[in-house]
């Protein structure tokens, strides 16, 4: 086929699609402000510095967990074990602190995250199990391990390290202290994606695995590193989250799983890989937190919330397929 010249004038839909794809954050911020406006209309006076600080506080762990999803989704994968890992890390740090002290407890918690990441990496990189199935399985195993672990520490009680409580619940002015962790974290992830070789190949492998192979990438190295990193980030999120919630439980961060996927998808990360931005996911996390407030105000039952989240994922992905004409 001779396609030497393509001086096409793309249709409006296509051009809008391209613009949104190139700059997903701009319309998302618009959407965020629109939602805040609607919220103010629904309950005049709700928007206050205090409310904003609170919204950020709850959006931050979600945005961090969404990082796991963005990173894995860039390669065409997903990490469904992230929320369980966060729970494990949060629970472990709270229950191990009275036994072994803070530094060791934190290390164990982060180590647990890396362990799960390692197993995920092996399954995805070598056995080529679909990441979704693999991470679902490791999530189940991790939950089982947590339950066994709980039996041994049930008598010791729990203590959340003071610095985690300070990070999770403290404020500096109107801003939550968790920003001290989150801002460096977000900057690191953004830099990682844009200015490192790792970020490059992450996008590349999701865009076209064959091309990366042709260019000399041994994909198992990347996938191993990726799932280890994802496990680490999830564990980190768990530490922060237990400081926010201050009540370790066996399902601590589990309800964040679905929103973390939704935040990444809303933020313009393609679930097929090769395309996405962490900045978008951060705004996505804020949008979901604001939407959560709205749904609470509207007194929607939990069931309806899940339906809405599910439909958002489906709708955004379907729209994406339509616009980009992929697959």
């Amino acid at each position: 086929m001779s396609d030497a010249t393509t001086p096409e004038t793309p249709s409006l839909l296509l051009r809008i699609g391209r613009f949104l794809r190139d700059n997903p954050v701009i319309p998302l911020i618009g959407l965020l402000f629109a939602l805040i406006g609607i919220l103010e209309l629904m309950r005049p006076g709700i928007i206050s510095p205090f409310w904003m600080g609170n919204t950020m506080r709850f959006a931050i762990p979600l945005a961090m967990l969404a990082a796991c999803q963005v990173l894995t989704m860039l390669t065409g994968g997903i990490d469904l074990s992230a929320a369980v890992v966060a729970t494990v890390a949060g629970f472990v740090v709270a229950t191990a602190t009275p036994l072994v002290g803070v530094p060791l407890a934190v290390s164990i918690a982060l180590g647990a995250g890396l362990m799960v990441g390692l197993v995920n990496g092996i399954g995805v990189a070598f056995a080529r199990v679909h990441p979704l199935i693999m991470t679902l399985g490791t999530g189940l195993i991790a939950t089982g391990c947590l339950q066994v672990y709980q039996r041994y520490v049930i008598a010791t009680g729990s203590e959340i390290p003071a610095f985690l409580v300070w990070l999770g619940t403290g404020r500096t002015g109107i801003l939550p202290n968790s920003l001290y962790v989150f801002i460096p974290f977000a900057v690191l992830i953004l830099l990682l994606l844009r200015y490192t070789g790792f970020g490059r190949v992450l996008f590349a492998i999701g865009s076209n695995e064959n091309a990366t192979r042709l260019s000399g990438l041994r994909s198992w190295q990347l996938l191993m590193a990726l799932y280890l990193l994802s496990g680490f980030i999830a564990a980190l999120t768990g530490l922060l989250y237990v400081g926010i919630i201050r009540a370790p439980s066996l399902s601590l961060a589990n309800p964040l799983l679905l929103p973390s996927v939704a935040a990444a998808v809303i933020g313009g990360t393609s679930i097929f890989g090769g395309r996405g931005s962490y900045a978008g996911a951060i705004v996505g996390a804020l949008i979901l937190t604001v939407m959560g407030t709205m749904l609470t105000l509207m007194q929607l039952p939990e069931g309806a919330r899940r339906i809405i989240f599910g439909l958002i994922i489906l709708l955004v992905t379907a729209l994406f397929v339509r616009i980009t004409n992929q697959r």
Partner: protein, 311 residues
């Protein structure tokens, strides 16, 4: 004939493994007998239906992550309906609901052209929400006639096992001999060739997902039969069903395998749990071991598929 023989060869091997495991169980716990078998059959019931549901969509070349959620919807639907009407219309309506949910999943995949794994992930949450809307917490009721069906023995066979086999194969046996069954295998095996052979690929896929939904409805009903109430929170059926399907010799990617293998696979996975329990292993440790076995099975399936692709 070769296909039947080949897939049965795998199933026969698996059946031998099951018998060995049963023998081992008897060795571990000499008192394991009729009661043990009966409760094994009962415990396997929802897993068997979830696996049958998964097997159909895997054969057509897809996957359905929402099986657990659809079972939950059907379980609460049936439990709520039975507070209002007799069990026969309640069961009939539940089966239709399952069929419809499956058809919705399939249609969304075909119409939106979004990959099955994404669509059914989203629908997993949607159906979960629907179940919660129908019944906020466990409740409803089950007709005595229904709960009685899965208890005790019918002749030499545990009633639960008999019911499961009848339900699964009453759908599967005629299906696998019909043109639709052929089309399902053809679509999963080579979609392009199937299309060229005149198979309506999209419609076949929707039908396969609808049948998946039907099996999920049976699974949901079996939950009501076992517990006597409806449970809106989905059980751990997704991972278990994928593992049983892979263990049963159905190739992830489609086109190959039968229904007998996966069903025996369910029992193999369940008997391992029984053995661990009988050995006095902490039930939570059992969960870990079971999870690890399932992950190992799926990984092994991945290796086998990789090797198959290379040759």
């Amino acid at each position: 004939m070769t296909r039947v023989l080949r897939s049965n060869l795998w199933a026969i091997g698996l059946a031998v493994l099951l018998l060995v495991l049963l023998g081992l169980t008897k060795l571990i716990q000499p008192s394991f007998g009729f009661n043990g078998l009966e409760s094994l059959a009962r415990a396997s019931l929802p897993f068997a239906f979830a696996t049958a549901a998964m097997a159909v969509v895997v054969i057509v070349g897809g996957i359905d992550l929402s099986v657990g959620s659809m079972m939950a919807v059907c379980s609460v639907t049936a439990a709520v309906l039975m507070t209002m009407m007799g069990w026969v219309p309640a069961v009939a309506i539940t089966l239709l609901v399952g069929l419809a949910m499956g058809a919705i999943n399939g249609s969304l995949i075909v119409v939106t052209r979004v990959p099955d794994i994404v669509v059914t992930l989203a629908m997993l949450f949607v159906w979960e929400g629907v179940a919660l809307l129908i019944l906020g917490s466990p409740g409803g009721t089950a007709d005595r006639a229904l709960t009685g069906m899965v208890r005790g023995w019918t002749g030499p066979v545990p009633s639960a096992l008999l019911l499961m086999l009848i339900c699964v194969f009453a759908v599967w046996w005629p299906l696998s001999r019909s043109k639709l069954g052929l089309s399902i295998y053809a679509t999963g095996s080579d979609e392009e060739a199937a299309f060229r052979s005149g198979v309506a690929v999209g419609r076949t896929r929707v039908a396969a997902y609808a049948i998946c939904g039907l099996y999920c409805a049976m699974g949901g009903l079996s939950l009501v039969m076992l517990t006597g109430i409806g449970e809106p929170v989905p059980g751990p059926y997704l991972m278990a069903s994928v593992a049983a399907v892979v263990l049963g010799g159905v190739v992830l990617g489609g086109g190959r395998g039968g229904m007998l293998g996966p069903i025996i696979g369910v029992f193999v996975l369940r008997i391992i749990r029984t053995m661990l329990t009988l050995m006095g292993v902490d039930p939570n440790v059992t969960t870990i071991v079971e999870g690890s076995i399932m992950v190992a099975v799926v990984m092994l399936g991945g290796f086998i598929m990789l090797r198959g692709r290379k040759t």
